[in-house]
Amino acid sequence: MSLAKTKHIEQSTVLYMNGVSVSFDGFKALNSLSLYIEPGEMRAIIGPNGAGKTTMMDVITGKTRPDEGTILFRDEQDLTRYDEAQVANMGVGRKFQKPSVIESLTVFENIEMSLKGGRSVWQALVQKLTPARQQKIDEILELIDLTDRQHEEAGSLSHGQKQWLEIGMLLGQEPELLLIDEPAAGMTDEETMKTAELFKRLAKKHSLMVVEHDMDFIEALDCKVTVLHEGRVLAEGSLETVKANPQVIEVYLGR
């Protein structure tokens, strides 16, 4: 009875991390970290350098194996057992801190390649650009405001545009959960606000986990905030609550 009940409660998470620890040469990058993300939720993650933000993303996306702990995706798949490509195909998209688009391909080709499906070698060799895929690409280009530059090499885009292109590539994968590392880094104020708007729109269909340092950006996201420190959760709640937390002020915000 009680088992069924707990299970029912757990089913409302897209991402379930419990007691996850990772250490590198004795240094505990993650120290029994627990975190839950609900479907359609947007979550901001903040924390000082070395708090374990990037390691956390590595662990979720199959790049790093945790020493212990559970990571469940949609309550069923144990993400610690799969590699990067498999995790990506399950529906977890990741955006890096440094914009990593394929610079020598065009904007269009970057999006085309990201579109869901056709991941096997054979499919990639014979796959054609169907009208449905073309339409999907057009929609994404429209959304990220790069329709005019679709035939230019991605390397020629500005920093902010590359960030957007990478977000567009994430959307092409149609993930349920998006992990986004410092999207606002290097963006102008206007671009930052546009990005926040875009994320808020996305949060209705996807779950988002956004790592960011820019407090204005987080304020604009207007969502629940988790503060990481030394590989574990230090505080969680609305931005105001977190900002008022004395420990958070001590380690992160400064006096």
């Binding site: 394929i102 060799l125 230019e152």
Partner: protein, 387 residues
């Protein structure tokens, strides 16, 4: 990009590849005209191509196919193989074994079954791995299978363990060196130091006859054209863009959900087979295959051909292979001792001043001529070089 041709896959492949189209046309003309002028135009005429020259050009065509194979993995997928000579040599040995069996009882020891070197070693019967090579079709299967299987096993181990960059280059180099040492041994059963030679005929045709030479030349030209088209088909498909993604940002490709190791393995195996075919056509034209073909320096030379021609274009590899080998033929005749220094210098110069090779230089010159005002409108050139 701007004007996409529709139609069958082959038409599209050729029509959307401006530079490649010119190259293919030139190759087709060479493949047909050189043999014809050798056979039909009387000796002494200006238009006569001697058998010596034709054989030399045939060698260049084989090298060009080898260069295309290397460009496919290095230029598009960033796999810098310093051991591709091994696949070329394996294809060559497979062909050589067939040619040895063709000698029959015309060898010095007149043994109908065993090649001379086996009789010399006092062997009484043919080793198991020489069985079947009296059949041409079997030898041709092995020309593809021997390099392909080695590349598959080697690639599966290396790529699954995520060996990349310099480390991968070093182990490919070690691979070809290990094979060099192995093939030097007499008891390997491949003729040891001397390799396989004294071939008599192929499919019943005398290898010394002009007609056979002409046919081999034609076959080399066609193999290069087909190899180019296969490579071109791969790099223009979505798979080709995944390869470029792996080259530029391997982790991005992984996080997009592509199993990078399978893509690398596929293109590595295809490339090894192209190299094997090149080796198989090379051997009957030069008349010998020996372990020297496994020498690491040979594999490094291929890299230089591709770099000089311009990597990541396929046609650049063809141009580079022909140019460098023509230079080699000329200079090893004129100043033999200096050639290796010149080759090294050429590589240094290309790396420093011509990162896109001769092809890139050509594009730059054209660009300047088109818009003397300065740079700009570069996207067309970039697309041309990359696509």
């Amino acid at each position: 990009m701007s004007q996409e041709f529709k139609g069958g896959p082959l038409t599209r492949l050729i029509m959307n590849d401006k530079a490649g189209r010119k190259l293919l046309l030139a190759l087709l003309l060479v493949s047909v005209l050189v043999p014809l002028s050798n056979l039909l135009v009387p000796e002494g005429s200006f238009f006569h191509v001697s058998t010596f020259t034709m054989t030399l050009l045939g060698k260049y065509l084989c090298y060009a196919l080898l260069a295309v194979a290397v460009d496919l993995i290095w230029g598009y997928c960033g796999i810098l193989s310093l051991g591709h000579g091994a696949f070329f040599a394996l294809g060559g040995y497979a062909m050589g074994m067939y040619l040895m069996r063709q000698i029959g009882d015309r060898g010095v020891y007149a043994n109908p079954e065993l090649p001379d070197f086996m009789v010399f070693l006092n062997w009484t019967e043919l080793p198991w791995y020489w069985q079947g090579f009296d059949q041409f079709w079997f030898a041709m299967v092995m020309v593809l299978a021997a390099p392909g299987i080695l590349a598959f096993v080697f690639g599966a181990l290396a790529f699954r363990s995520r060996v990349t960059g310099v480390y991968l280059s070093i182990i490919t180099q070690a691979l070809t060196y290990a094979l060099l040492l192995a093939f030097f041994r007499n008891d390997m059963g491949f003729g040891g130091n001397n390799g396989l030679t004294d071939f008599k005929d192929i499919l019943g045709f005398d290898l010394q006859a002009d007609g056979t030479r002409a046919a081999l030349f034609f076959a080399s030209g066609i193999a290069l054209i087909v190899g180019y088209l296969i490579s071109r088909f791969i790099v223009t498909s979505k798979l080709g863009r995944v390869l470029v993604a792996i080259r530029d940002s391997e982790s991005r490709a992984r996080f997009m959900g592509y199993r990078v190791e399978w893509y690398k393995l596929f293109v590595f195996v295809v490339s090894s087979m192209l190299a094997g075919v090149a080796g198989a056509l090379y051997v009957p034209q030069v008349g010998i295959i020996n372990p020297g073909e496994f020498a690491p320096i040979n594999s490094i030379e291929i890299i230089i051909w591709v770099a000089v021609g311009g990597r990541g274009t396929l046609y650049g590899a063809v141009i580079g292979a022909v140019l460098v080998n023509y230079a080699k033929t000329y200079f090893t005749g004129a100043f033999a001792e200096l050639w290796l220094f010149m080759l090294g210098g050429l590589f240094v110069l290309t790396t420093l001043y011509l990162p896109k090779g001769v092809v890139g230089l050509w594009h730059q010159i054209q660009e300047k001529r088109r818009s003397p005002g300065g740079p700009g409108g570069g996207s067309d050139i970039a697309a041309e070089g990359k696509a």
